[in-house]
């Protein structure tokens, strides 16, 4: 799935897969921080991920 997302042009830095148990709350926090930081560092030019058309045309 990661491969196909990357294949379609999603920046690899915006994709992250982790295995976190419900008992690993600290790991979840760490991963969430890391992912947001990494995505933020890539910049916010990515308007392209959002819908552009009005909901009712």
């Amino acid at each position: 799935m990661k491969n196909l997302l990357e294949h379609m042009g999603i920046d690899p830095g915006r994709l992250h897969f982790s295995w976190i148990s419900s008992a690993e709350s600290t790991k979840f926090v760490d991963v969430a921080k890391k992912v947001t930081e990494e995505a933020a560092s890539l910049g916010s030019k990515e308007k392209k991920y959002m819908k552009t058309k009005p909901k009712v045309a």
């Binding site: 491969n3 196909l4 042009g9 992250h16 897969f17 552009t52 045309a57």
Partner: protein
Amino acid sequence: MTTYTQKIREISKRLLQEGRVDMVIGFARGSVPMINQPAFATHSADADRFVWDGNCGINLANYVTGRQETIGIVAKGCDARNLAVHIVENKIRRDQLYIIGVPCMGMTDRHKLTAAVAGEIESVDEDESGKTVTVSGDGFSETFNRAEMLQENCMLCMHRNPVLFDEMIADPVPEQTDEDIDRYGAVRRVENMNPEEKWDYFDDLLSDCIRCYACRNACPLCYCPTCFVDESKPQWVGKSIDPADIRIFHFLRAYHCAGRCTDCGACVRSCPMGINVRALTKKLEKDCLEYFGWEAGLTTEQRPPLDTYKPDDPEQFIK
């Protein structure tokens, strides 16, 4: 090709007369040129509708899903592989099927033929040897080399002969190998792009999509009682033609076919806008081959890779 047609009719009649099957599914001439339609024969007289030519591109495995009768089915290489997928996924039992195997030299691409001539095509004829295809219409008639007018997936096909059959209508045709063709050339070209270029490539590819879902309907793998795109509670994906919604639809549809797609080309063939939907599924096929050594529909003995767990499954992407 007329010998194929005769043989298919002959076998179908025999099966129906002997009561071996309740129904035979084959191809019949469509109402417009270059698009044959599926035909269902329940009496031996109906079998005279069956034909075989280069326009039998739809995948007949699509029509056996969940059926209770015993069915004779005309199957080229890809149809037979999709029947194998159906059997593995419990959508039909092997003993319900009598597979009439057809060695296939590929299906002609109607978009290519349409683009190659100026006028409207009224009839398409193939010579018996399968070397040439002649298209004619009002005031023109042109002959092409058939091998050059094939659908892209047929040009890259490595399983022209059915892998699963009860009876073959002719001797097997020669198979292509990795030495003859470069199966994943188009996929590699996209793989070598940077993310921006990839994004633009798919933006352009999918820009014509009108969300008609013909690709889904033609696909033998898409048999869910309610497709995720039709569901509204919960609604998984936006139903508009906003590029974001279109992209999500195509991404998810393709992903549902991972490890199951036989690259039969039914999706591309059915697309009214001529979108090459295979650009997505071919990548998944390549990944499946590289990661799991798997090609869909070659056996009924093994579960597909995304359906099983092995300790050595690749998992480098999980951090």
